[in-house]
Amino acid sequence: MLTRGYYWLVTALAIPAFLWLVPTIWMVSLSFQPNEVLARTTSSTALGLVPVPFTFENYTALFSFGQTPLWFLNSVIVALGMTLGVLAVSTTAGYALARLDFRFKTPVMILCLIGLMVPEQAVFIPLYTMFADLGWHNSYHALILPRMAVPIGVFLMMQFFRAIPQDIEEAARLDGVGWLQIFRYVMLPLARPAMMTLAILTFLYAWNDYLWPLVSAQQREFFTITLGLASIQSNFAQSEGLGRVMASGVIASLPVVILFLIFQRYVVQAMTAGGSKG
């Protein structure tokens, strides 16, 4: 039942929510203003929150000359590749550790557990020298592989599989179904919500990763959008104008935001499910 108190609450929350949105609105607004104007003032109309004077110039320039579309595509390739890779190795390993019995299971589990404690930043230097020796830098696999080794996904999937009742599996066993088939046809379909959670977390991580692409991708063709944006923002004085940089920021964000808006219901549900089961 919706009480008066509820409406007050919504109103009271709407104000901070709007403030929360202001920086984003500002970025969008600046991206639609001419660079010559921005060079002098960023608060032409309503503190700059409304794009007057208005121009599309920044976006047309971005698409006629920019590398932003290429970087964006790289990000999509890397993020999707990483997501698929993480899903593949995490579901299989997670299932094996959760439901199957084998020798050395405990040592393997402990080994993976220790891996949880190793942050990316503690291994990026040796990884860098390793990939350098292999001549792997500036490639998609160099950007994707290191993250696949992080065991967090395995544990997420393991916890999920553990919560599935034993009898489903036992019924299949009695029918003489092999373990791999049980995994493929019984467990995987059940694991969809957990996989979705893992996929979204991985995708977000991949999209935002900065340090590893910074050291591994030195060639522009392999810049991700995150890296590409960093390369044009560090000195505004030398860049091609605030409006253009902001337009790149908008282009970089738009698809992830749209993706999130489409899947958000599912994201929250998946996380909630994952949280209660874990």
Binding site: L47, D101, T129, P151, G178, Y185
Partner: protein, 364 residues
């Protein structure tokens, strides 16, 4: 579904397990376990990035000298009150943990963890260069301190605001779900977009905050280059950016609290804030712990905000550990030294992970 009923020569349980484990173990071994040990090995060498790249023999085994060079100094002495504030806090912490354990208000593991942290707080700040002495690397410990400050400001900031928002937004109505979306939205932006926005937000000349201040006749704060505000600026940016996930996790935790508890509470006149304090918080303890430890681990690895917004300045006040590692490795080419710092980072992260493990088990 017919195919799964076919009787075939199935793999045994153990064989199936290894087949399923193999892909992960392969990448795990190659890209995490091996690099980890290789990192320790590099940290024991004088290893110049470029020199070794051109001539693999250009590295020299130096034992633990890199560790000594970053963490130790000449004539380092220890005194009980070299850094009074922190050390007294440490003593107090030891007292509190003994008291809590004694009065049975904290479990043994919690008391040990808290006590250990307090002892470290008492011991570590006590080291200082004596007469004519100095740290070999004057920047290392201040950098660690900055990182801790950043974590110490960001984690409570994110946790408290996310908790309050989650409690307020925990209703399945259209308006609430729209509001949740708005608060979560910034989470999906990449670090470079976030720093791009906030760099301009904070600019004393072009920034929205400055424009606003000037509108009211104030003189704008030079956020990113003022010693007192630079850290605050990157903390604000980080809170704005990473509130979403914490909020979602809290919302998930809130869903698990049975409605019956609130109904029972309502009979005792516990509604609104009282219900939040007496019902929500106690039942959310486990989620809070998880969120806090996750945040600590996450924010200890801060890099982009410092690297892109302040370049670690002014006067190193926002220099953080990962940025120092990155610079030592790729600007100064000193891979050995940088790797030693990375091992140090691992030890810190590892301690928190173990803490998380202990606290997590305790509640079971």
């Amino acid at each position: 579904m017919t195919s799964i009923n076919k009787r075939r020569n199935h793999l045994s349980e153990a064989q199936a397990a290894w087949v399923l484990l193999l892909p992960f173990l392969a990448v795990y071994g190659a890209f995490l376990v091996y690099p980890f040990f290789r990192g320790i090995w590099i940290s024991l060498h004088d290893w110049n990035l470029l020199a070794v790249a051109f001539n693999p023999d250009a590295r020299e085994f130096v034992g633990v000298r890199n560790y000594e060079r970053i963490m130790w100094g000449r004539n380092i002495e220890w005194a009980a009150l070299a850094h009074p504030t922190l050390q007294i806090l440490g003593i107090a912490g030891v007292g509190i943990s003994v008291f809590l354990r004694w009065t049975n208000r904290a479990s043994r593991a919690t008391a040990i963890a808290l006590g250990l942290a307090s002892v470290l707080l008492f011991v570590l700040p006590g080291f200082h260069p004596g007469e004519g002495g100095r740290w070999y690397d004057r920047r290392f410990w201040p950098t660690v301190g900055n990182t801790i400050t950043f974590v110490g400001l960001t984690v409570p900031g994110v946790t408290i605001s996310a908790l309050v928002l989650a409690a307020a937004l925990n209703r399945e109505t259209r308006a609430m779900s729209v509001l949740r979306t708005l608060f979560f939205l910034s989470q999906v932006l990449s670090v470079t977009v976030v720093t791009l926005i906030w760099q301009i937000m904070f600019s004393p000349r072009q920034g929205l905050i400055a424009n606003l201040t000037e509108l009211f006749g104030g003189s704008p704060i030079v956020w990113l280059t003022d010693e007192s505000f630079a850290m605050a600026a990157i903390v604000i940016t980080t809170i704005w950016w990473s509130l979403g996930i914490a909020m979602i996790l809290f919302l998930a935790g809130l869903q698990d609290i049975s409605k019956d508890l609130y109904e029972a509470g309502a009979l005792d006149n516990a509604t609104g804030l009282r219900a939040f304090w007496h019902i929500t918080l106690p039942n959310l303890k486990r989620t809070v712990t998880v969120v806090v430890v996750l945040q600590i681990i996450l924010h200890f690895q801060v890099f982009g905000q410092s690297h892109l917004m302040t370049n670690g300045g002014p006067n190193d006040t926002t220099q953080v550990l990962v940025r120092y590692i990155y610079q030592t490795a790729f600007r100064d080419s000193e891979l050995g030294r940088a790797s030693a710092m990375a091992v140090f980072l691992f030890v810190i992260m590892g301690s928190f992970s173990i803490l998380q493990f202990i606290l997590g088990r305790e509640d079971d």
